[in-house]
Amino acid sequence: MRKLALILVCISLLTTGCWDYQEVDRLATVLALGIDRIPGSKNVLLTVQIGKPEGKGSSKQIGGQGGEKSYIIMNSEGKSLSEAILSIGKQSTRRVVLSHCKTAVLGRDLAEMGIGEILDDLKRARESRRTNWILTTDKTAKEIIEKDISLEQLPGRGLDHILQNFKKAGRVVPMNFNDFFARLNGESHVSFTPLAQLEDIDKQVTNQLEKVVGRSLDTEEKPKTLTIGKTAVFKNLRMVGVLNEDDTRAHKWLVDSPKGSSITLAYAPQAQTNGDKGDIMFEIEDGQTTITPHISEEGITMNIECTTKVLIHELGATGVNVLDPKVVAQLELQTAEAMKLQLEHTINTAQKELKSDCVGFAENLHNYYPLEWKQIKDNWDDVFPTVDYQIFCKVKILSSGTISNPTLRSEPE
């Protein structure tokens, strides 16, 4: 009797179910998401990139060259992000799922007007993940989402790959939702994201070549290329500025670690005071930056200590003799100086230009001087530009690649 009842319950459960059942070919898988503000209104313009499954009929081709693209773009508008997401349903025959969307791109207008309203949705939505990447652009997110990335069938995944690579090596700190939120919630309320740009690299190259050759080159018109090399800084939910590429690199040394980055040194041996400068490039194999705050009567001082281990990547035509320990020591010193200069420039930009603590001074102060911090906390924005800092850089050259000295020396003048 009891078993019969159990069976009945099971059957009734089985026959009435299937609320969430959804065939996989009735879904539109979003790969990347672009959010723009419609100028002059509060409305959000959403651009989504949806992977298009290649049916058995259609021919499979790579990267949409000549053939069809393997993704489609859809746009929708709404008062808020979730409303915009829902209203994609108006044009899509398939249910939109966001669980595979790994990248969200913020348009510049939106970022500058404030992102507070969309953040809640990004945190709350079931399908949103805190490991997703966040990007900002200097123009509109729509362009970035619509952009093909060469070699990639699905540009949305291409963006993911670029940012994944940054995690291992790169000049930019990739930002996932979690760190972005956590930094915004942090003591300084300053956060940052990588900045995606569309650059006409081909045009630039052609122009330069044309100057050299002196005539117009007969090259094909190529589309713009997506590059990620700068950093957008957010303060109190608003984008306040951009760090240029050099500052971005030094910014990475400060807030993440110098590891995986590179540094170029304009080398000038002291013996040859005139000329024969050459560029030497180092790859930073390992490194660490520690910021130690120090409060004294004079004020707040930040001791920034940056130790790196580098590999010689390129000696160029400098003609240095790296087999000479003295030269190596000198190289190390000069590199440290170059790093210091770069760091100083970056901190200066943050203090004077952006007036936002994107270098993490506030966190360190809070950690080291919790009591004092409570007093500074409220007027930190005013204090930050005046904070003094000292930079100590230390560079250790580990190896020189597969050869030691450059074999081809530049001709003496």
Binding site: D20, R130, A182, P370
Partner: protein
Amino acid sequence: MPEKGIINTKQFVWMLFIIITTLAAMQIPSMLIMQAGRDAWLSVVSAWFLDVMLALVYAYMGIRFPGENFVQYSITILGKYLGRMVGILFPLFFLLVCSLMLQGLSQVVNTIFLPMTPFNVILVSSFLVSAFIGRKGLEVIARMTEVLGPLFFFSIVTVCCLVLPAVHMERLKPQLDEGIAPFLIGTPLMLTSFGVCIIMAMYIPLCNRPENGFLAKFSAVSMGALVVGLVTALSVGIFGIEDAQYMNSPGLQLAKMINFSNYLERVEMVWLLILVGSGIVASSSLLWAFGQGLAQIVGLKTYQPLIYPGALLSLVFCIGSFPSSLNQTNFFHYTFPIVAAFVETGLELFLFATALVLNKRGAA
């Protein structure tokens, strides 16, 4: 005695561990972070200590009244009528915990697995399965936890290891920023949810070695505290206290952070499955404790017919009192600690003191 099954100490440990952890690992960390901020893990440690102290009392009572659980010895101590009135509070408390637990788990299942499925379907099916298991008796529950418990423990530890790269130590600093008050207030919150393992008093008489009661509880609470402490500390270290305190389930969010070499990601469902499975088994042992306790108070020969009605009653509690997850969170945060503190600590200490004063002992 209604229950004929015998459990061994290993099973005892895993059963306690599962009950503590499924109740605590899901929702407690965020409440704790709300109370204690970055020092939440300290609350876990101090609650662990206090709970071990409390366990001493329970273990002692288990030995002083051999072969009796608290339902029975409250009758022995306080007499036929008062003892029954006091004794019935324990089964009812287990029923309440069962409601809370299954509501929370079903809510998570509804949000993560089946967003379009009616909540009640999930709730009813989880109650059905846990009553099915509960009716099979303590031995079956014990054996199931023996399989699920280690799985659960290692899955949590694995999750914690996999999210370690995402931890930013500076989000955990500075400790004791606001003094010791926050973590002291957090302690009772944690203690009350650890305290659900007063169910140990139901198990001690059925254990093949009742004198190991304290040891079992100690190991279970230590494992539970380790897990909850890890989840709490990692949540702070990863999300920061501002976000972590309002998360419905920080443990789940932690699992969502897993991204191991870009291939192993979005696996939180696997972890969640193990958690929900353990939760259902844990609530079935709560239902069992309800049935067993009630059967002993009334003096029945068998407790099994009471399991399904108990589950139904618990379901009605759920539907009537927690129409939404917000209700449940609110109850869990503000009302449950008071109730739990009364039952877990107040009643037991009262019984303990009365037994000492009246010099009552169990019939050996």
